[in-house]
């Protein structure tokens, strides 16, 4: 029901969400001379307002980082709620979409996607970072990998003039990260797109197969957006939940199902020498030696406030470990999952619920990855390695690695995080097997599109931001041509 207090916006195309999908779509549509409105639920923060790590966490993360995948084990899944979406709080790691994955998507070829990938990479300044940015975390990992003959490489990042602040995940304090609020959102605004922050879209009005308007709330009251076309770019969890809330589940049976993430954990190692892992790019390097079995490793060094809660210890023992912060190194391991989860419509003011029970194959791969990282750390000279695996939380010799791998394994033995959700509104031709078509239009609706991570049909095995941006760019160009 609409009241007189509605503020109304009229435009040709309304884009909801300013993350990797929405910002790129808005910029491409505005560039094609469309009258575009970009709506973002979170606030915009200038570089100089980023404040402390705690400030960044409280302000820029959805639910202050407590977004959960409910299941065995429950996992936190960090999502951004700020201008730029999750790109503002990610580790800035860039990977091209894996060609073998794109080949399986049938309605799209890698060659067709490649020009969009290259365009995106150029705009966000994706490049291999130099070794001098990588810090002590890289030095010890390189030493361990060299000893075991395992290749380790610096990763691609969307950075410009990085000053090694070491806090990419909490808002770059020097504006080096070329996330959406520093690239595509300003591009969209420069082309005449109106950008509204703190505007939360809550409802959609429909007339048959046509969306008439979006309604929501801002700090100034309720609002309504009327447009000819609507693009949902809320993210892989909120977008399907929003559609499920509007009862699209019956006509699109695949909606919200098939959620895939990268279940991940971190391995922390204690050295006698000073590492100073916080003085480098947190996710600077990666190991893809075991990518063939779906196991990938990437650096992940964190502020002590995030590193220690996941490490065992209490009282004076914990204080001793905290005092050794400069002697720690940390590396992450994630798996390309076989598990399928599910997104449900939100209740009680919560925008979505997600269910995900880690399967035993993924748990085995995680343990395999932890074991290999532990061996690398021991080869590099680590005194003790913290595994994050409850039955064997610390390892300090190769014999113990063998014991670690022989222990009974259950998914609940891990304390995990989840990253890179995809697959909840997958692309495809058949409405029974997919939610959007290859041009990212929702099946059975005339003017509703989804352009975010949810359209990626399966887990990529790599960080997905370039893939999301490329698909959104392709979808938006196609929409601009057809409109």
């Amino acid at each position: 029901m609409c009241s007189a207090s509605h503020k109304q916006y009229d435009c040709q195309i309304a884009v909801v969400g300013s993350g990797a999908g929405g910002a790129v779509a808005a910029a491409a549509l505005a560039e094609a001379d469309k009258k575009v409105l970009l709506l973002e639920e979170g606030k915009a923060y200038a570089t100089e307002d980023h404040g402390s790590v705690l400030d960044g966490f409280v302000r820029m993360y959805r639910d202050a980082g407590a977004t959960l995948l409910l299941g065995r084990p429950p996992m936190t899944l960090p999502l951004g709620k700020t201008l730029g979406g999750t790109t503002a709080i990610n580790s800035s790691t860039c990977f091209r979409p894996p060609p073998e994955k794109v080949a399986r998507w049938k309605g799209l070829t890698y060659e067709e996607l490649l020009p969009f990938v290259e365009e995106v990479e150029a705009r966000i300044h994706s490049h291999v970072v130099s070794e001098d940015l990588l810090g002590g975390n890289w030095t010890v990992m390189k030493r361990g990998c060299d000893a075991l003959g395992i290749p380790i490489e610096p990763l691609f990042h969307n950075l410009k003039d990085c000053q090694k602040s070491g806090r990419c995940q909490f808002g770059c304090p020097v504006g080096a990260k070329q996330s959406m609020e520093r690239t595509y959102v300003p591009d969209a605004a420069a082309q005449g797109c109106e950008v509204l922050t703190q505007h939360r879209v809550e409802r959609m009005k429909l007339d048959g197969n046509r969306v008439l308007s979006l309604e929501g709330r801002s700090p100034h009251g309720s609002f309504r957006v009327k447009a000819e076309r609507f693009v949902l770019s809320m993210g892989a969890l909120p977008s399907p939940a929003f559609l499920l809330k509007h009862r699209f589940g019956r006509r699109l049976p695949r909606l919200g199902k098939g959620l895939q993430v990268h279940p991940a954990t971190r391995v922390v190692a204690l050295f006698d020498e000073v590492i100073d892992g916080h003085l480098g790019l947190p996710q600077g390097a990666g190991i893809d030696h075991w990518a063939y079995r779906g196991v990938r490793m990437e650096g992940i060094f964190l502020h002590p406030g995030f590193l220690y809660p996941m490490m065992p210890g209490c009282g004076y023992d914990l204080k001793e470990r905290i005092a050794q912060y400069r002697n720690l190194s940390a590396f992450g391991v994630f798996v390309e999952d076989s598990t399928r989860g599910r997104v449900l419509a939100g209740r009680f003011g919560y925008p979505f619920f997600a269910l995900y029970n880690l399967c035993s194959k993924d748990a085995q791969n995680l343990r395999f990855g932890i074991a290999r990282l532990t061996e690398i750390y021991l080869a590099a000279g680590a005194k003790t390695v913290f595994t994050g695996f409850a039955p064997c939380p610390t390892v300090d010799s190769n014999e113990e690695v063998e014991r670690f791998e022989s222990l009974p394994l259950k998914p609940i033995h891990f304390e995990l995080g989840a990253f890179h959700p995809v697959g909840t509104c997958p692309m495809g031709e058949d409405p029974r097997e997919s939610v959007v078509d290859w041009r990212l239009k929702v099946h059975g609706l005339e003017n509703l599109y989804v352009m975010d991570a949810s359209v990626i049909p399966e887990s990529l095995g790599v960080n997905p931001q370039i893939t999301i941006m490329s698909l959104a760019l392709r979808g938006a160009r196609s929409l601009a041509l057809s409109h």
């Binding site: 409280v58 302000r59 502020h303 406030g305 905290i322 400069r326 609940i412």
Partner: protein, 282 residues
């Protein structure tokens, strides 16, 4: 006393609505008991006679009904008044919630036991009515209870007790959680305040849960916040290495609320070499 509804948080607004409803319902029921309450068990008995398992309710002896009616009307009057003042000001009269909850818990439990013993339909009705009311009031009170704060006083005590156990004074460096408790608790509240209402509720429930960690781990029969430091450390250590995942997990969630604010303090960051080194490089 005369707060407008805009001065209340959404959870308090829902609780006040419930209290207004209860106040009206208790008032009307009290009047009904006074004027026509005598034959009520008989009417309920009639409804229940169709069910084969039900046993007829015994007829009260002459004059006995009036005695119980007086008691029930006076109880209803008290509940009407208590729920009314809670509607007016839930923050200022929070102690009365415990009275109402206690009353409903006792009555629903007794109704249940009497029903199990006698299979009389009026006891089943009483159990279902008072049991539902107990659960409803409890469910609405938990999110409303901190008033304008994030945590209740008890929850702040639990967080501080856990904080002092995780980061005691002395050891590898001098400062402990106790030395910065005020600032750390403020920051923990800011952290939880930025969560959704449902997650805030979960964070508070987890805190309450770890208060029972000494009991759950067999360290002591006392709760965490009333235990000495060594006992608290032992209890939290056992919890976080517990083989049962659902006992371990609340510890990690609450540990973040303690360690993140503490390790974000400037002086602590300098102490452990995070801040100083950053400054020299950037």
């Amino acid at each position: 006393m005369n707060k407008t509804s805009s001065a209340f948080r959404p959870a308090e607004i829902w609780f006040r609505r419930c209290m207004l409803f209860c106040s009206m319902a208790f008032g009307i029921t009290g009047l009904f008991f006074l004027l026509a309450g005598g034959p009520l068990p008989k009417w309920l008995d009639t409804l229940g006679t169709g069910r084969s398992v039900m046993v007829p309710y015994p007829v009260a002896a002459a004059g006995e009904g009036a005695f119980w009616r007086i008691l029930s009307v006076s109880m209803m009057a008290m509940l009407t008044w208590a729920t009314w003042i809670l509607f007016r000001n839930p923050r200022g009269n929070a102690a009365w919630v415990q009275l109402i909850l206690l009353s409903k818990l006792i009555s629903s439990s007794l109704y249940f036991f009497f029903f199990v013993g006698t299979h009389q339909f009026p006891h089943l009705v009483g159990w279902l009515t008072d049991g539902s009311l107990f659960l409803l009031i409890l469910a609405l009170w938990i999110p409303a209870s901190p008033g304008q704060n994030v945590f209740t006083r008890k929850e702040r005590q639990i967080l501080q007790a856990a904080g002092e156990a995780w980061i005691p004074r002395g050891g590898a460096f001098q400062d402990g959680y106790k030395d910065h408790a005020h600032k750390c608790l403020q920051e923990a509240e800011r952290l939880v305040l930025s969560q959704s209402a449902l997650t805030q509720l979960a964070s508070r429930v987890l805190l309450r849960f770890i208060d029972f960690s000494p009991l759950l781990t067999g360290v002591s029969l006392r709760r965490l916040r009333s235990l000495h430091l060594e006992g608290r450390i032992q209890s939290l250590e056992r919890m976080e290495s517990h083989p049962i995942h659902w006992l371990r997990w609340p510890i990690f969630a609450s540990k973040l609320n303690v360690l993140l604010p503490f390790l974000s303090l400037e002086e602590i960051q300098e102490e452990i070499g995070y801040k100083e080194k950053r400054a020299s490089h950037v």
